[in-house]
Symmetry: C5
Subunit: 86 residues, 5 copies
Amino acid sequence: MMIGRVVSSVVSSRKYQELQGFKLLVIQPYFGGKEDCLVAADEIGAGEGELVLVTRGSAVEHGLSRKAPVDAVVVGILDHDPILKD
Amino acid sequence: MMIGRVVSSVVSSRKYQELQGFKLLVIQPYFGGKEDCLVAADEIGAGEGELVLVTRGSAVEHGLSRKAPVDAVVVGILDHDPILKD
Amino acid sequence: MMIGRVVSSVVSSRKYQELQGFKLLVIQPYFGGKEDCLVAADEIGAGEGELVLVTRGSAVEHGLSRKAPVDAVVVGILDHDPILKD
Amino acid sequence: MMIGRVVSSVVSSRKYQELQGFKLLVIQPYFGGKEDCLVAADEIGAGEGELVLVTRGSAVEHGLSRKAPVDAVVVGILDHDPILKD
Amino acid sequence: MMIGRVVSSVVSSRKYQELQGFKLLVIQPYFGGKEDCLVAADEIGAGEGELVLVTRGSAVEHGLSRKAPVDAVVVGILDHDPILKD
């Protein structure tokens, strides 16, 4: 999974019906830069500025309440920043 | 999902029959550079210059009207640019 | 999908039986550099120097005539270079 | 698979129920830099500082005791560093 | 598929039972640098220094003799280096 910070959300009026109801969050990777930002579906209510755990790929379907053309989903909200000893 | 801008389309006369009927759009990532451009199938009518949401990988099959050897599909057109507070 | 140019082919005498019969082409990404070259199976007869469309990942199985341990396949030959307005 | 070192773990009180019980480790790739750190589920008890083997993508489900929205899993602990002749 | 050179192997005494019996090779990409090295399962007997073809992702299961949490497998040994006209 990827650790990322919720930096924004996107609005799309013209989209697949299967995407209706998902909040679509822009996530900036905690490790890495802005050029790797991605959009993840959210069903657990992550807010802007929060650190989240994002699952990508085929495992996403185990994290969605229904089948949808979604390749990234927020699966958890972190309690605090990961501490890296360096 | 990836946010990208439609910058072009491609024409392929010699291709798999299963690709017939899909519009094939060249998408430049909104975050990142031209070297990450990819081609996505489009069934919702995205036009050049528009910002779109692209799903990749195994979830693509939930976004296509039929089985096809396609690994990226346009699933939504954004109403406006994402706003990133920085 | 990725746009790439056929730059070479590879020969492998010792390989999985399931790979027999596929032409294995070295593809250089049109966007990006030589360090991202990959090998794709080809069943539509793409020739060296031609621009092709390559599908990767789980959708590859919809582009192969049989099940095989193949993660990239040529699905189309482009009529001409994509035109990017910049 | 990726070789990586366990550098930390993450705590998430608000997460998918399917993630309960997995230890979530932050793994830094052995080859590559900190910007490629990822989070992997662990069921074999890898400890901080240990070198591990991480499987990603759809094969992860063969490495989990149950279905979960997890895209990376620790599948082995290395006995020692890989020796690269260079 | 990726072309890579076998540069080492890894030993893991504490690992998933499903990984028993696979040789685990460290592969350095032929195109690209050491930071992209990965570990692939090998059932065809590739030796150190040999150039191999590696399949990744969901197609790996068509290249393994049994189900396992493995995301990369050696599917062929190249007869010689690919020749790139440049």
